[in-house]
């Protein structure tokens, strides 16, 4: 049942600083941390106190409403601090790593020979479960629900995104084990979205769909919408490529191993390339000494420039992120910016001359280049969302808090990343992703 889907809507943004296909191993970091703020809608409950010794795979905190969903230490060591923000909200649980502590023990077995319940229990206990997200809403999957399918996108079309063909080189067997485990969790199929010339087509026990086209073709939400769109009442689970490896390793070795490859990218990075580190690694470890000019005002982003989170160099890699992007902050005035012919300005519109002379790669900063306005232009968003959805009407339904309309306009099918390009291209500088998340939160609150 393999399909080739050609998508025409969308936009590739070519930024300077894509990662060279070379991998460096970073030393084991002195500290790692989990940030409950990486999980939208989560109410965390701590399972450890400061000074407790934890093995890799021991729970640090759990979901208050689903205590079986645990968030575990990526590496063994000692809990050194629990940083809190306003109203004692937990921001970070930091562990000082100790190589002698090792990993918690789990069952080592071929997942195909285990029952679905055993597989589920092992993934929950090891703390890998939070890597499985559900659609609608893009939040951590509810283990009690029965998904109609599981979707994995094996390529990322976002600006400067890592190439998973390179990242997974030599690890496809482990990936296959992970896929076999996931196949136990659904009555439907595990669906792989692949690009042309993908190494992932050799996998078994999966449905492979090929997608061609500009970003957001690599977004799993777009792939679902163009093969088997989500209707009201249906649930689909998604997981990203490297997180499938964690599951594979868990069943192959009986230990947790949160080692992952992160692409360090962006115009402000001296030699952009791939680094092997771990979930929750400190940002300083990844970017320290690797930026062009450390004194210059830069923005470090955990994730890509469209959907990532701004982090300080004292912070830690986001739970789901496989990429760090560093761009100029750009908090400078520009004289008569609107009148510039713009030979160096990339734009989704054709209002700047840059469009006539497409350079290979652009440097872009975090300036929003204008002031926020009401919706004025039409058909700007529609051209960037390859789904059967009217983005502006959905956003307006959210703004007026009309749940029926949100449902009708397809809120179950989208999360922030699917509309990120709209926010990038918006003439009126509307905070599209924020509005969408507010709408999703309303849906969760009202309908559960």
């Amino acid at each position: 049942m393999s399909e080739v889907v050609k998508l025409r809507k969308g936009l590739n943004i070519k930024l300077k600083g894509s990662a060279e296909k070379a991998l460096d191993k970073l030393p084991v970091p002195a500290t790692v941390a989990l940030k409950p703020t990486d999980f939208p809608g989560l109410t965390p409950k701590l399972s450890v106190k400061v000074d407790a010794e934890v093995k890799a795979g021991d729970a640090l905190f759990y979901d208050k409403y689903h205590p079986e969903i645990k968030f575990t230490a990526p590496l063994g060591g000692k809990v050194v601090s629990i940083n809190r923000g306003e109203r004692r909200k937990i921001l970070e649980v930091v562990i000082a790593t100790d190589e002698n502590v090792g990993s918690a023990e789990f069952k080592k077995a071929d997942p195909s020979s285990l029952s679905a319940e055993e597989v589920k229990e092992q993934i929950l206990k090891s703390g890998i479960w939070p890597f499985i997200k559900k659609r609608p809403y893009g939040i951590i999957a509810n283990p009690e629900e029965k998904p109609k399918a599981i979707y994995i996108s094996t390529f990322d079309t976002a600006p400067l995104a890592p190439d998973y063909n390179f990242v997974l080189d030599g690890q496809l067997d482990t990936f296959q084990t992970g896929v076999n485990a996931l196949a136990q969790l659904t009555e439907g199929k595990v669906n792989l979205g692949v690009s042309k010339d993908s190494a992932f087509t050799s996998l078994k026990n999966v449905v492979v769909n090929t997608f061609e086209g500009p970003h957001p073709a690599g977004n799993v939400g777009i792939q679902i919408a163009n093969t088997s769109p989500i209707n009201k009442g249906e649930v689909v689970w998604t997981i990203s490529v490297q997180d499938v490896l964690f599951i594979g390793r868990l069943f192959e070795t009986g230990n947790v191993d949160f080692t992952k490859t992160v692409a360090l990218t962006g115009s402000e990075v001296q030699a952009p390339k791939y680094y092997q580190t771990t979930v929750g690694a400190p940002i300083a470890n990844l970017v320290g000494g690797k930026l062009v000019d450390a004194d210059y005002n830069q923005r470090i982003i955990s994730g890509n420039v469209l959907t990532g989170t701004k982090v300080s160099s004292k912070s830690f890699l986001g739970f789901y992120d496989s990429q760090i992007s560093v761009i100029p902050e750009g908090d400078e005035y520009e004289f008569l910016g609107w009148a510039d012919p713009g030979f160096n300005k990339f734009s989704a519109t054709k209002a700047y001359f840059g469009k006539l002379f497409p350079k290979k790669e652009y440097t872009m900063n975090a300036n929003i280049h204008g002031g926020e306005r009401a919706f004025v232009l039409s058909n700007q968003y529609e051209k960037l969302v390859p789904m059967d959805i009217l983005p502006v009407f959905l956003l307006k339904a959210i703004l007026v808090n009309d749940i029926d309309k949100m449902e009708n306009f397809g809120i179950y099918e989208v999360i922030e990343e699917d509309f990120a390009l709209c926010e990038y291209a918006c003439t009126s500088k509307i905070e599209v992703q924020k509005i969408l998340r507010e709408g999703i939160n309303t849906m969760i609150k009202e309908l559960g």
Partner: protein, 393 residues
């Protein structure tokens, strides 16, 4: 240039809430952001943003109107010297200068009044000054007869900005095209001054008009059953009419810019022109039917494509119907919206004797119906989506 930035940065604290000059906040911000793109960086969502903003968008629209404006100035001169019989003996520069002197005050009044009101409203509401009027302020002079008194321009502009736009919430919220609201206001409030044959030509009482010169627009002539204009003059724009609307060529140059940059919807332009052409053909088909008076029959039989180059049809199709705020928002809706504008404009123009030109009313009418069109397009979209849900269930 640095001292300008320093000046604005230094004065910024003085215009904050509670400070001495707080009532100048929006004006300060307006001028500062006009000269300098702000240094604001993204706080939520995407970290990079497109260079396009509303200032850029609007300045491109203004730029696309410039050919029509410049030609309009020239044509004001041409019509004047033609009327007094000195066209052949007057040089290009003098002709243009005459038009410039006539038209520039209208532009200044339109911008002055409109922006003044915008500033006041922005300050009252405590938001930034919005760029919408940069375009409206340019379009208003271009759809006025050159002899309109300046006080009328001022009143019409004030009416359009306040009741056509600000009462709805400002740029992006209005139902009708503000520039056309200004024109419609004058049309209905001062019908005596806004029609007839004398408003289209800039003449002083002391000027002596040559024998046989009427000053009527081809539209007025056509309604009276005379088709006396040359197609070339109508296309290039050497005919009497509102300041910016006469030259189809100058308007098409603007259209090319709007289409290339993607800022004006080509779908609306094409469908409006198609609607006009189709209605013209329908009228042609009925030109021979019995019971028509000879004048009407003549107008019916006018070649359909002449409708497109006469009067305000092309100006309306390119610059007015395409206003993204008052037009249909959905892509399917745009086809319907534009097509009906074309049809209605020609119907009003030819069949309704009270109105020699139908474009203004056709666009305002379809502005009114655009939300209804969108409603049905969106309802169709939702219906298809729910059907899909049932099929898979």
């Amino acid at each position: 240039m640095k001292f300008i930035k320093n000046f604005f940065e230094r004065t910024e604290p003085l215009v904050q809430k509670g400070a001495k000059y707080h009532w100048l906040n929006s004006v300060h911000d307006g001028f500062f952001t006009f000269l300098y793109t702000p240094k604001t960086t993204s706080k939520t969502g995407t970290h990079i943003h497109d260079y396009i903003d509303l200032k850029r968008t609007m300045s491109i629209v203004v730029l696309s109107v410039v050919p029509a404006l410049l030609f309009g100035m020239y044509n004001v001169g041409v019509q004047h010297f033609k009327a007094i019989g000195e066209l052949a003996s007057t040089g290009f520069f003098d002709i243009f200068l005459f038009g410039l002197i006539k038209v520039l005050p209208i532009v200044i009044v339109s911008y002055g009044v409109g922006l003044g009101i915008e500033f006041v409203f922005a300050q009252l509401r405590g938001h930034e000054i919005q760029e919408g009027f940069l375009v409206s302020g340019m379009l208003i002079p271009l759809i006025m007869p050159v002899n309109t008194p300046l006080w009328m321009i001022a009143v019409a502009t004030a009416f359009a900005v306040v009741l056509g736009k600000e009462v709805f919430g400002g740029t992006g919220m209005n139902i009708w095209n503000p520039a056309l609201v200004a024109r419609a206001f004058l049309f209905f409030a001062y019908p005596a001054q806004m029609s007839g044959d004398s408003v289209w030509i800039a003449l002083k009482d002391t000027d002596k008009v040559v024998d046989g010169f009427s000053g009527a627009t081809p539209m007025a002539d056509a309604a009276a059953g005379h088709l006396n204009y040359s197609v070339a003059d109508a296309f290039f724009g050497f005919i009497p009419g509102s300041i910016g609307e006469t030259s189809t060529l100058a308007i098409l140059i603007g259209a090319v810019l709007l289409i290339i940059t993607g800022i004006g919807s080509w779908k609306i332009m094409v469908s409006t022109i198609a609607g006009g052409a189709v209605m013209g053909l329908i009228l042609n088909a009925f030109a021979g039917s019995a019971g028509l008076s000879p004048e009407v029959a003549t107008y019916f039989s006018m070649p359909f494509w002449h409708h497109l180059i006469l009067g305000g049809f092309m100006f309306g199709a390119i610059f007015m119907a395409t206003d993204p705020v008052s037009a249909s928002q959905t892509e399917k809706g745009k086809w319907i919206y534009g097509f009906l504008i074309g049809i209605l404009a020609i119907i009003i123009r030819v069949i309704n004797p009270a109105f020699p030109e139908g474009m203004m009313l056709a666009i305002l009418l379809m502005n009114t119906f655009a939300p209804l069109i969108d409603h049905y397009v969106v309802a169709g979209h939702v219906k298809r989506r729910t059907k899909r849900a049932k099929v898979s269930a």
